[in-house]
Amino acid sequence: MSESLLQAPPAAEAFANQPDWLREARQQAALRFDALPRPSRTDEAWRFSNLRAFDPQDFTPARPVALEVTDSLLPLSLGADSHAGSLVFANDKLVARTRSAVADQGVIWLPLEEAIEQHPELVQRYFMRSEALFGSAKHLALHQASVRTGTFLYVPKGVKVEAPLQAFHWIAGSGQSIFPHTLLIAEEGSSVTFVDWFKAHSDSRNLACGVHDLHVGQGAEVHYVSVQDWSRQTVALHSNATVVGAGGKAVHLSLHLGGSFARSESVSHLRGAGARSEMLAATVADGAQEFDQRTLQDHCSPDTSSDLLYKNALYDEAKTIFAGLIRVAPHAHRTDAYQKVRNLVLSAEAEAVSLPGLEILADQVRCSHGATTGEINAEELFYMQARGISERDAYRLITYGFLNEVIERLPENSLRVRLQEALQARLAGH
């Protein structure tokens, strides 16, 4: 294992023309990764988590894929019909891009390595600025030391990008690790929709350690969608930090389908009056899959609002963990925060853990949270059967509807259809 991540973080030389600040930051991150202890289940942030699920040393930085593999991936990298542009990455290397008219609007839409060359100040201002809040400091350090490419999307003041932009991150081979990155900056009054599709070329064991950060300026509106469709053997660690300015709005929807152990951390910082964040997730867990979800709704300013809806459908011996905190800073009066987790348990062996939390230090706030765990409703089942739909199909359709309610929160129709198809495909075996 000469290329072990622990021994030789790979990416110190990964970027051509890497500026000094970045080289230093990445060297520091590599040292941090070595120095930091492995997460322990006694940490609150890793409570209930199955830490034996993987060891980073089992994976080596992904090697480039063969041309015929790329050829097979591209027809599967389509996404929403209406999209305004795509970047396609395979094993952390850009393999295809569609030219986009958004450049005419002044939008910067580049793979990260090109953004570093062409817009180093912009990248420096926003790149990896969020602190690790959930005990993932080690993984974030690994990501920062190892990231080689990703999406850089900058939408200037007042620019409205109508159709969604998207990126595909493919992983191919086995024992490989990739570090997908998304950095999205929407300046004041702008709007954009961006989709990350995470997909596996084959059903093999790999590691994905991604960071997806959104900066939503004053009065800007960002829809960010991620479709996590890694192989069923992939270890996936995804961290998201969203910062919303005054009057801005972020909608973050994740569809979690793949992975053996998939941890996602999502933080919304509401900084400025009227800032709003919607945090949405739909998860299908089956077999021995484990989904570990940690969230923070961080209300830093008065008159901010957040709305979290996470839904999990669990089959077989699958496990989901949800730990979510609503934090209201002392002066963040008139905060309106909502958090709801719903687990649909379809097997006696499945386990859904819900740990909602509140930390309120301001006055006149409206905060509500709730976690429910239930089975298929017998009357819904009978109604479907009374129409000739078999019990098995009825179970699948009701489960689809349960999760589709999350997808329906998206306004963009052609994107919604693609997500619904992905969900249907995922449920097809049940």
């Binding site: 009357e379 009978f382 109604y383 009374a386 129409r387 019990e391």
Partner: protein
């Protein structure tokens, strides 16, 4: 060709006996109505025929064109040609009406056969227009947030699309204002014909002004106690159910069915 209910006894699983030897035959092409006071077993009858798991049949049979359906799962009964229009249609969040009806039609096709989308939407829109249902209905979740009238129209829409041999309408008039009642009744009347037998279950005579039955039955204490032409419904409306109770002997109402 008929739906024959023979000596049907049923109870809530592990609970009270509700149907106590019910006999009824609905020929294809005919419309029968069952009227009865609250608690007489009207809704139980519809659920037992459809196969609701809360009820168990202790005796008797239900023959659909000669085939006993009581051993069949509810979905198999539906595919065999039975339709139940629910008194309280169930809301199914996140599943669109179009998707739901398509799944029900797809379930009737042989394995590997796919429903033709253009044809499906053509049929669906035609029936929706007839029931004065707006087009955006297809994208809405099944019955979710529907008014009482919309729910009942949706039941009739499903009935029109699934083309059953026998349909049971359970209190289809409940929760409807007069305009909705007219639309729903017209929808049902449009489906009347030689290939469909209909059983209308209702507490009130009002519905039968719009869906004229061939035969009216009175259900009391789990048994049909009287059958006659549509004039019986008017008589019940005028005199109430007590009149018919009074005519029956106390013994006949109270008697427990004899089990073999």
């Amino acid at each position: 060709m008929s739906l024959v209910i023979h000596n049907l006894h049923a109870r809530v699983v592990g609970g009270q006996q509700i149907l106590r030897g019910l006999n009824l035959e609905i020929e294809k092409g005919s419309v029968h109505a069952i009227m009865g006071p609250n608690g007489s077993g009207k809704s139980t009858l519809s659920k037992v025929i459809a196969g609701h798991p809360d009820y168990e049949v202790t005796e008797g049979e239900v023959l659909l064109d000669g085939v006993n359906v009581l051993g069949m799962e509810p979905d198999a009964r539906s595919r065999a040609g039975l339709f139940l229009a629910f008194q309280y249609p169930v809301e199914i969040p996140g599943v669109s009406n179009a998707n739901f009806i398509r799944a029900a039609l797809q379930a009737r096709l042989a394995a590997g056969e796919e429903l033709e989308a253009t044809e499906y939407y053509g049929d669906l829109y035609k029936e929706m227009d007839r029931l004065e249902i707006p087009r955006n209905f297809t994208a809405r979740s099944v019955n979710e947030g529907f008014s009482g009238g919309e729910k009942k129209r949706n039941e009739v829409l499903q009935m029109a699309m699934l083309k059953p041999s026998y349909a049971i309408l359970d209190e289809t008039d409940s929760g409807l204002d007069i305009d909705a009642l007219k639309v729903v009744s017209a929808g049902v009347n449009a489906l009347r014909g030689p290939s469909l037998g209909i059983l209308v279950i209702t507490h009130y005579q009002r519905l039968l002004d719009y869906i004229t039955p061939d035969v009216v039955h009175v259900l009391v204490a789990g048994r049909i106690v009287r059958s006659a032409g549509p004039e019986l419904a008017l008589e019940l409306e005028a005199k109430g159910y007590d009149w018919i109770r009074d005519e029956l002997s106390e013994a006949a109402l109270a008697a427990e069915p004899v089990h073999a």
